[in-house]
Amino acid sequence: MEHYTMNLTLKVWRQQNGNTPGRFETYQVKNISSEMSFLEMIDVLNEEMIREGKDPIAFDHDCREGICGMCSMYIDGRPHGPWQQNTVCQLHMRAYKDGDTIVIEPWRANAFPVIKDLMVDRSSFDRIIQAGGFISVNTGSPVDANAIPVEKNMADAAFAAAACIGCGACVAACKNSSAMLFLSAKVTHLALLPQGHPERRTRAMNMVAQMDKEGFGACTNTGACEAVCPKGISIENIARLNREYLMAGLTSE
């Protein structure tokens, strides 16, 4: 693709901290290369602002190769921007043309309070994982990898669910701010494997209870989460989580 440069208008959500109200600020960025990533474009703007002595835009990022789940921008009405199965860091400026206006907002959900500007606190996800997203094993020498047979199909399905990077786009996209796609990916990848089997009942119950405690909404199966998931986690996992939860509820004491 031909290289080109562009001038853009950015409308960015600026918020000092969780206690002060935020507002949109408009910025002009010039000579942006079509080969830059979206975050590099923000870097350019931030460096310019630092030179001018202004407060740069705070945003989350880490690996910048689409696997860590840190970047979290809601761009023009879609988490992670216009591309399918993509994270913001892997969104490139060739998606835009000269003169475009881009609106950038943070994830919005009560369970993801804004820390500053485009950064939100996603530790509610960590607490959900702590509630049951693990298997308990004895320490000691590792068990032989082939000691427990796993069917290939199951291993593949579990791996597809385990691809979830916990970025929170599902919550950001959901009209109910529900974390069910995240939760279902975590429950599925353990429930499909024999190692996850012993604790599957308590896992489903405890993780759902923690999700409710954190203030996420309930799932209404609209499918918006699946459409924006950078890792293509399927909404069928939510049905599996429902089944796990129901079985746990019906068979527990």
Binding site: N176, T220, T222, E236, L246
Partner: protein, 223 residues
Amino acid sequence: MKWSEMFTSSVGKKVVMALTGIFLILFLIVHVGLNACIWANDGGKMFNAGAHFMGSNIVPRILEIGLFAGFILHIVQGLMLEFQNRSRRKQGYSVAMGNKGSKWYSRSMGILGTLILLFLVVHISDFWLPNRANQGFLLGEEIDLYVKMREVFQTEWVVVLYLVGCISLAWHLLHGFQSAFRTFGVSNKKYLSLINTLGIAFSIIVPLAFALMPLSFYFGWIK
């Protein structure tokens, strides 16, 4: 986990919606089947025989209480969930996601349900209430419901209102039917595609049959 914990969690509340939803779908089948007897075109003989059984026999009358309970649970729980879910995002987005990823009717179950509820109030006061009042709310003498139908469906705006009710029901079912099964935990692709197809067929056929009833009387297709 206690029953109370199970049915008050976010997943449990959806299970209640799905259970009552499927129950109400079953009711729709009975209702549409019985009402279809008007098309026997026998001056309402067959229809009134069916209606008489439903109104004067103790068994359907006891089931009727269950039906009302099902309706109330579905309505109250549905509205509560809608408000709770909306409150989970205090600060909204300035650019809405809209139809990027979800269908408008799947996001509008609350408003569609409210339209159906408004229709239901009018519908109950058109037929059920005058009939039961005539029976003294026990097992007394019923009114001629076929004559009543013909009478009610002579007014233009009532017919329009019933059509709005049927259209709302169709969209509500289009999402609700398959969503209920997902809530029950059906995740197998082969079942989901079957349920999707069934759901689409049900959402078209049943509301269409209901919509044809006021139209049949209004345009005089049946005597």
